[in-house]
């Protein structure tokens, strides 16, 4: 059968957002583990800043509400469950490209999240397979996706999300610059889909002399630009 090498706008969108949401799942779980570690022997104020950044809807009032909510609440877009569901919503549209084997890692993750939610599991270690399967998903996708443009779109989404989260969590310049460099590797593979003006502005802002995430305007601008960069 003649193989189609062209990606439609619908699919391009799904590849990009699949990359973003799956990375969101991974990073959120990573940050949660750090957060819970602080919560073991800390006071409320020790983990409050992390809590605030994860719970963007600001709806959890107690330690327990936060713990369960941030993992399983599908009404709050900041949770692991919401991100995994969105990743699946995009991936399911791409079965013939990423193949059933790759998709199965996300199916298993979502099924496990639902199972843990039903049991009201509070310990984040119950979701360790979600992290493992996320990595397996990326490995499988990279190996099986024959369309390189599609792969670059997905990896661009992954890197943009990584950058977005690192900025939100005030990581230092080295980490941010490294993440941005990593994302840029894919930009040149996607001519016409990257807004060059936005990229130029970012290039000027992500340099040591200007880097200052404690400046709210600077941070807001960076986040805005990062989210305007890809035109899908």
């Amino acid at each position: 059968m003649v193989k189609n090498t062209v990606i439609s706008a619908t699919k391009a969108n799904s590849f990009f957002w699949l990359g973003r949401y799956e990375e969101r799942v991974y990073i959120t779980l990573h940050l949660l583990r750090k957060c819970y570690d602080k919560m073991i022997d800390g006071e409320l104020e020790d983990y409050w800043p992390i809590w605030q950044k994860l719970d963007t809807a600001g709806i959890y009032q107690t330690n327990e509400e936060f713990t369960l909510g941030i993992m399983y609440d599908d009404m709050n877009p900041s949770t692991v469950m919401a991100a995994q569901t969105k990743a699946m919503d995009n991936a399911i549209l791409l079965r013939e490209d990423i193949l059933s084997e790759t998709l199965s890692y996300l199916e298993m993750s979502l099924a496990l999240l639902k199972e843990c939610r039903n049991k009201q599991e509070k310990n984040v270690t119950c979701l360790q397979p979600v992290i493992d399967w996320s990595l397996a998903f990326w490995g499988s996708a990279e190996q099986r996706l024959r369309n390189h443009k599609a792969l670059y779109l997905m990896l661009t989404g992954r890197n943009i999300e990584n950058l977005d989260m690192l900025l939100r969590f005030d990581y230092d310049f080295e980490r941010i610059a490294l993440a941005y460099d990593s994302a840029k590797r894919y930009f040149k593979q996607l001519p016409g889909l990257i807004d060059e003006t936005v990229e130029g502005e970012l290039n000027n802002l992500i340099i040591r002399e200007h880097f200052n995430l404690s400046d709210a305007d600077y941070k807001r601008k960076l986040l805005h630009l990062i989210n305007q960069l890809v035109k899908v």
């Binding site: 059968m1 990606i7 399911i92 013939e96 059933s100």
Partner: protein, 442 residues
Amino acid sequence: MNIRINELIDSRDTVNKWMERFGVRFGVYKHGIFNEQLFPFDSIPRIISHSDWAYLEEGLKQRVMVLNKFLWDVYHDKRIIKDGVIPEEFVYASKGYMPECEGISPIDEVYAHIAGIDLVEGKDGQWYVLEDNLRIPSGASYPMIAREITRKVSPQTFTQNAVAENRDYSKLLSTMMEEMNDDRGISVILTPGRYNSAYFEHSYFAEKTGATLAYPGDLFVEDNKVYYAGIYKEKTRVGCIYRRVSDEYMDPMIFEASSLLGIPNVMQAYKAGNVALINAIGNGVADDKGIYYFVPKMVEYYLGEKPILQNAPTYLPYFKDDYDYVLENIQKLVIKDVSEAGGYGVVFGRDLDDKKLKELKDLIINEPRRWIAQEVIDFKDLEILEDDKLVERKADLRAFVISGKETKVWPSGLTRFSRNPNSFVVNSSQGGGFKDTWVMEG
């Protein structure tokens, strides 16, 4: 034959777990809300002997070939109507008849490239055709993936049983699509989208055949040719569309104007012979429940042969004798509304009280053309596993016949069973489950 039934029973949960892993689901709309659910799989297969299959294969080929001839005739010469074999009102009053298809000649005169023929096996071993599905028959993906998984989970079962391969359904499909495509461009499967009840199947077939899964908006027509639109404004010629969108939504310029699922002007491209549509538009006229009655007559008319497969004994209240018989015997018959599908519009006379029977009779009296009546076939029960116990339930078989340059019958099929002990309705949309269908090699 040693089917290792205990091993299959033990494997049921593992197989269902794998089904979940691969997202084997179907969607159901209830009260306007879309829900996806797993299609319950029973690991004990339906087994069809080599000799039974040889008979079915021959009969299915004959039936589908004749239905294709009928469709050509309806949209061209209309000999069968002119010769008085089928009354014209059964053709032209059918909801599936599309006057817009008059004179259109699909490639190789094939209309029903994929036919799903629903059969039941009577307790006496006689097979009966219950329904022909020539529009968008679905369900082949389920036994296909079930076989893939069962072979993984219980390899010994297949070492010890010579079961005909069924995972090559995708090869049958892709070969037929290539033949119809005739090197004009890429082949696509057009899906209405993720919220279609059979979306799993659409995406799975795309994966297995190598066709592109196209969504509404991905395809457009220019100069009577169909193209797939790329994100860089590239356009790739499309030669064949396996469409999973109903006739009436396929072209908003000709049919339902509000349709966002179709491709504007695709009918022009189709008419010009620039794209193959699988299945052809207008096939509904041949799988109409009213036309079903005439299929054995078609076999004799077009082929001069006796029909190999039997219809269930059927009455058309349109004819005076049948009308009298149906009204007199309504309590022992199953009455079907010809305009319904998916197990809807099917009423068993024995389940109705006097008041309801009277209401049904009135409906038949007022609109005799709208109904058919059939004798209730005491069809064979199949064993299924329910709560770790073996119980017997009604089951049917949807056989799939693929027609390209040749007509081929897939040596398997979707066996659907009712989970309700008192029900003959096996449709997945009404809670039924499914089994793999084993065709034994000689």
